[in-house]
Amino acid sequence: MGFTKNKAGVDTPLRTELAKKGVVWTTLDFLYNWGRRSSIWPMQFGLACCAFEMIAAACARYDIARFGAELFRASPRQADLMIISGTVTKKMAPQVVRLYNQMPEPKYALTMGACAISGGPFIDGYNVLRGIDRYIPVDVHLPGCPPRPEALLHGLMELQKKIASQEIQKTAWYQKGLKREFPIPEFGPNGLIPKFNPEVWQPSKENPRREHYGQTILVGKKLKAPDLELAAAPQPAAPGAAA
């Protein structure tokens, strides 16, 4: 993947010559992608801790405006990029999918932080979704907990590369009959229904956590509460000491 080359079929000296006379000779792809990649409007949408690094990236020191992406829009209908910055809980997941559906094409999603990718540190939680890519397609994954603002900028540059490599004739959103509505899961009594969207994600055959750790950590169920009163009561003096 790389930036689209200016592949207009004219040799360079002639092109320079023409440029001097005010004639720009380029390909439509190049112009189109240049425009799109230089003004990505992200959605102003923070979920958890990682949102703070996103805000820091927008502020003075890191200044995401250098990449043309400073215009955080509060409405999904004006946004191109959804930065999913933080833990997606099961209660929040339907909202996230709905917001993604509301964004106009072409749209991109970037997961920021371990939580949005896989559940991160909270993967064992009963209410934490193990990765938003179960419901929507994600273009860039940014690992880290939280990723530094520089990492977000790097992710943005990767996304720009992806945008630049798309060709106007093949892009999905100019094809006939495009339908990119992702089914919104429902927050039922036992978690989300359905558990994932089979079109975008399939459960892996292996158990990567088990492979990584060599074992799955099992914790015995605790059933009996400690008797605090007994522990707090003064210890009876040892019989030998009293004598």
Binding site: Q44, F45, G46, L47, A48, C49, A51, F52, E53, I55, A56, C59, A60, R61, A74, P76, G86, T87, T89, K91, M92, Q95, L99, P121, F122, D124, G125, Y126, N127, V128, C145, P146, R148, E186, F187, V219, K222, K224, A225, P226, D227, L228, L230, A231, A232
Partner: protein, 382 residues
């Protein structure tokens, strides 16, 4: 799932129910509230929680005591170090550990720096909510980055510091670190002056914030409100003074109090608290002794956390986090994992009076009131 909100005068044809959040630029994350309006006046408000419920307490019950420390960072992610402080105190109480002198000083300094970071961030966001879109926040974040640089150098991470340990701290401060803290302390008043020149007497800020969201003293004390929100109503209650945990009784600092308890007071109390924090930092820098940074008795806990078994019992430790009273309750049953772990989160409890503060106000003011309470959703929903 159909949701119902039991508003008092539901069914009244003149009222309108609108929904804020969970995706809304000024709900500080994923907070959601349903507001009942009569014209522009609020006549009912119901918060909806749980969009960031990350099972913090359940995860703690499956982890060794020391392994929970990084998770406490993620409770209130604006000031991670203060959260570490409270949790470390709770374990120390449970296990009966002492903390070396130097570590106490380092902890207090870090907690106060975190308070400064928290307060400037909150002020920035509150002004964002007022409509001063991003400019005050840019000033605040410029200064915040300097302190975060220091955190990164000392603890290894900008936001999630994971620095305090039961019985001490993770790494010692070098002279260069102390000099860096000193530089921040000396330069900060100039920034505050600039910030205040922009804001404190700003007419728009005064008009939008004064007499908005007044919190009466008795309502506040009844509901258990703590922190700057309570002190803005004029109640002198600061756990640093009341409990004098750690070594706070050695420092000379004042508790700024508000008079009316409106949003403006809450803003101004925070500005004054930053100044007091700087005072504490100055004194700590002058007095910090040499010595150990971790109690030797805590080594088994830190080196082999899975074998550390505190005696059966319970412990509650509380600190004055920048948002209010942050308490950790631990029940040990003699195994390496706690039987119960509970966090008394100030953000959640301070939110309980949101409806009272908002009733009769305009809808635009509800946002300011929410901003002035200073909530963080990681802590509210846990």
């Amino acid at each position: 799932m159909k949701e119902t909100f039991n508003f008092k005068n539901a069914g009244n044809a003149e009222t309108l129910e609108i929904n804020f959040g969970p995706q809304h630029p000024s709900t500080h994350g994923v907070f959601r509230m349903v507001v009942q309006l009569n014209g522009e006046k609020i006549c009912g408000l119901k918060p909806v929680f749980g969009y960031l419920h990350r099972n913090h307490e359940q995860i703690a019950e499956n982890l060794p005591y020391a392994a929970m420390m990084p998770y406490t960072d993620r409770l209130d992610y604006v000031n991670a170090l203060a959260n570490n402080f409270g949790y470390a105190l709770a374990i120390e109480k449970l296990a009966g550990l002492e903390v070396p002198e130097r570590a106490e000083y380092i902890r207090v300094m870090m907690a106060e720096l975190a308070r400064v970071v928290n307060h400037i961030t909150v002020i920035g966001f509150m002004l964002n909510d007022l409509g001063a879109f991003f400019t005050p926040l840019l000033y605040a974040f410029r200064e915040r980055e300097r302190i975060l640089d220091l955190f990164e150098e000392i603890t290894g991470s900008r936001l999630m510091c994971n620095y305090l340990r039961p019985g001490g701290v993770k790494r010692d401060l070098t002279d260069a670190h102390l000099a860096a803290i000193r530089a921040i302390v000396t330069k900060f008043p100039a920034f505050l002056k600039e910030f205040e020149a922009l804001l404190t007497k700003n007419e728009i800020l005064c008009m939008r914030c004064q007499n908005i969201g007044i919190l009466p003293v008795d309502a506040a004390t009844n509901a258990g409100i703590t922190g700057p929100v309570l002190r803005a109503s004029g109640v002198n209650y600061d756990i640093r003074k009341v409990d004098a945990y750690s070594i706070y009784n050695r420092f000379d600092f004042k508790i700024p109090l508000g008079q009316k308890g409106d949003a403006y007071d809450r803003y101004y109390v925070r500005v004054l608290e930053i100044r007091e924090s700087l005072k504490i930092l100055e004194q700590a820098l002058a007095k910090i002794p040499q010595g150990d940074i971790v109690n030797k008795k805590a080594f088994p806990l830190l080196k082999m956390p899975r074998n550390f078994k505190p005696p059966v019992g319970e412990a509650y430790a509380r600190i004055e986090s920048p948002k209010g009273e942050l308490g950790y309750y631990l029940v040990s049953d003699g195994t390496p994992q706690p039987w119960r772990y509970h966090v008394r989160a100030p953000s959640l409890i301070n939110l309980t009076l949101l409806e009272e503060m908002c009733l009769g106000q305009k809808i635009a003011d509800a946002i300011i009131i929410l901003g002035s309470i200073d909530i963080v959703l990681g802590e509210t929903d846990r």
